[in-house]
């Protein structure tokens, strides 16, 4: 019962934050709404028994990536409330209609996927037993370092390339 309450709370926070982000006029406000939405999502991860993911989401996503956005907004001095950069009414209607259609289609797709996955699902008891025996980190670490070691290592390469690329692109040209 208490879980349902928290779920509704977090869901409302996430939807509200996301919507506010889209419509806020100040980029800084947008960013903070997004951080709020991410906090709410972390809560939902906890409700789904993904404790480690929830923590990483906060630390890496909200804590690192979004702060990077914050830096950029500050660096470019965009943190002012100005004339909205939302598009005109016609485009707004079209955009919302397309997004709505997208939502509907995603619902159809996810419902199909959910129905199949439930048929062969593990059930709450199995998950609890796994968490008990391996711990929140252990259940993710096991497949990551056994089955997905190579992709994991390649990810580090991707990040390296991204770092180098970011430096090259953002570097001030020599005068």
């Amino acid at each position: 019962m208490i879980a349902d309450f928290f779920f509704v709370l977090f869901a409302v926070m996430a939807i509200g934050g996301a919507t506010a982000m889209v419509f806020a006029r100040n980029p800084l406000a947008s960013l903070l709404y997004l951080v709020m939405a991410f906090f709410a999502l972390s809560g939902i991860f906890v409700l789904l028994d993904a404790h480690f993911i929830a923590a990483v989401n906060l630390i890496v996503y909200a804590g690192a990536i979004l702060v990077l956005f914050l830096f950029v907004i500050m660096l470019l001095n965009l943190g002012r409330t100005e004339k909205s950069d939302l598009r005109g009414p016609l485009y707004r209607i079209i955009g919302i209609v397309v997004a709505g259609a997208f939502f509907g289609l995603l619902l159809v797709m996810l419902r199909g996927g959910h129905a199949t996955s439930m048929a062969g699902g593990m059930g709450q008891a199995t998950i609890d037993a796994m968490l008990e025996s391996q711990g929140a980190v252990g259940i993710v670490a096991e497949p990551m370092f056994r089955s997905y070691l190579v992709p994991f290592e390649i990810t580090s390469l991707l990040l390296l390339v991204a770092i180098v690329g970011a430096i090259v692109l953002a570097r001030r040209k020599a005068p």
């Binding site: 397309v98 997208f102 289609l105 159809v108």
Partner: protein, 677 residues
Amino acid sequence: MVNLLESFLRVAQHAEAGYHPVLPGLILLLPLLGFVINGLGAFLWRDNKRVPSVVGPLAIIGAFAIVVANFLAMRGAMPHDPAVVSLWTWMAVGDLSIGVDLQFDQLSILMMLVVTGVSSVIHVYSIGYMRADPGYSRYFAYLNLFVFFMLILVMGGNFPIMFVGWEGVGLCSYLLIGFWYENRDFASAGKKAFIVNRIGDFGFLVAMFLIFTHFGTLNFTEVFAAAPETLVFGGGVVTLTTLLLFLGATGKSAQIPLYVWLPDAMAGPTPVSALIHAATMVTAGVYMVARSGVLFAMSPVSQAIVAAVGAGTALLAATIATQQYDIKKVLAYSTVSQLGYMFLAVGIGAFTAGVFHLMTHAFFKALLFLGSGAVIHAMHEAYHQVHRHDDPNDMRNHGGLKNVMPITWATMWIGTVAIAGIFPFAGFFSKDEIIWSAGSYGYVVLWVVAIITAILTAAYMTRLMVLTFHGENRSGADAKPHIREVPAVMWVPLAILAFLSLVGGWVQIPDALPVLPAVDALHHWLEPVMEPARHVMMEHGFHQAHEAPLGGGEAAWAIISTVLALFVVVLTFRAMVHRRYSPAAESEAPTGFAGVLYNKWYVDELYDRVIIRPLLALWRGCWKIVDDGIIDGSLNALASGTRMVGWVGSLFQTGRVAGYMFWFVTGVVLILALLLL
């Protein structure tokens, strides 16, 4: 490699063991080397005339010396079978194996002697004639290259190698006719020669294919040895093959219907006309027919056609020659006519007579051309001095040159009596043998045509001499004092050729002639090569009579013909020498029948109407409809279609991120809808 080097450098050894070719590769290598050096010179030391003057003639004289050594070696051994030197394998594909083979037999040695000998003389003459030409080095490069290819043609031991030479001399002929390529007419004359020759080459090629399909080889020795057993006498295959070969010969040797290129080929420098378009290259067809004598002997139909075409060409060209005013055109038609004689001879099976006339003709026609070159040279220099642009080739501008150019005059007269067939000059023996063969073999019509042509020849040559050297000078008062005899480097070759025109016929003196010692050197010399063809003819009912169609033996007709020729010469001379002629600029074109002859029976015009214009119209139609309409049209339609699609696509390419986003998301939505709904 060692073998190759050895074959290049092999010197005659063991003369008692038979004949071995002396330095066979070097004969070809020397002219090629000359070509390379002079060709480089045309780029590198364009203004240096000393190098080509030395290298050009020396390369040919060197080759001539080796050929003479070969001739002496062969005369000592007198082998029955040809000596074949294989340098390397050119191509080997399936059953087909073609080697670079050089064949040394009596016929090829004779041809090599004529080619290198006459070439040497003409190269020396060219030093004087081309002295002032800016393309001096290029000229000698082409000339050396020509000798190289001509030697390949006569030395080749199989049809493909012969064809290489055949095409090569065609190329050199084209290059040298269009030597002064700045002149549009001269360049088109070169093209005309090349294109007309292509028609003949087509025949040669197809004949080679036929020979290969039936014999499985293209080597002369094997083909000719196997021919009597492999092919049916008078059958369709041998007839078709020989007719196709003859088509090739009509192109190269300027016979009906492909003779039209040769008179235009006079656009080249005169020594070129002498060497290529009189003495050597144009006789390649005769050589080829004589070489393939066995095949021709097996097809009476082909023989008849060859002889008829030869006789027809001889008569036609001789009639045209009587009304030309360009001194080189007269000689050109005379060449066509004399080539007709040779084909008449090889056509009726008198191969040796044809080759004999080929040889003597090379001497006196080269002499006549070089003489005309001397006249043109002198006239050109004179006009050049007084800055006039009259035609130095037109005989109406000549006249009375006898007094200022005595050496040229004397040597030209020797050439004239030689070609007219007057005893004891070279032309008498060879022409008489052809006429006698035609008569005694029973070809009455050919015999009559040959005699008429001989009379015409005497007439037009005397006309040429009278117009050029006798009477009064018509070059104009200003130019007249500037006409001079040509330098020694030019008249010495004339003298050499005049000597050859005198004695060249003495290698073959019929025993029927009274008083004279009978000489059978040429027949004896060519016996090993011509014997198989003769044998084939003998087997199939050939026989030679001892009387001409009107009665009378060989001696009688020899005397009749020489008296007749002498009579015509004297008559023409006396009729023309006192007449007055007006210079070219003041003359009117001949009318009536003379006009028809002057315009060469309108053959060029006929070809233009019947062949060239319909072809041009056809190709123009193809160009407009097929090329422009269908091919270009479809391509253009494709291109503009692509451009339309691109234009529609470019409407989406606004360059604005928002637009791309919108289409991207819309696309995702549509794809999802398609997949899910």
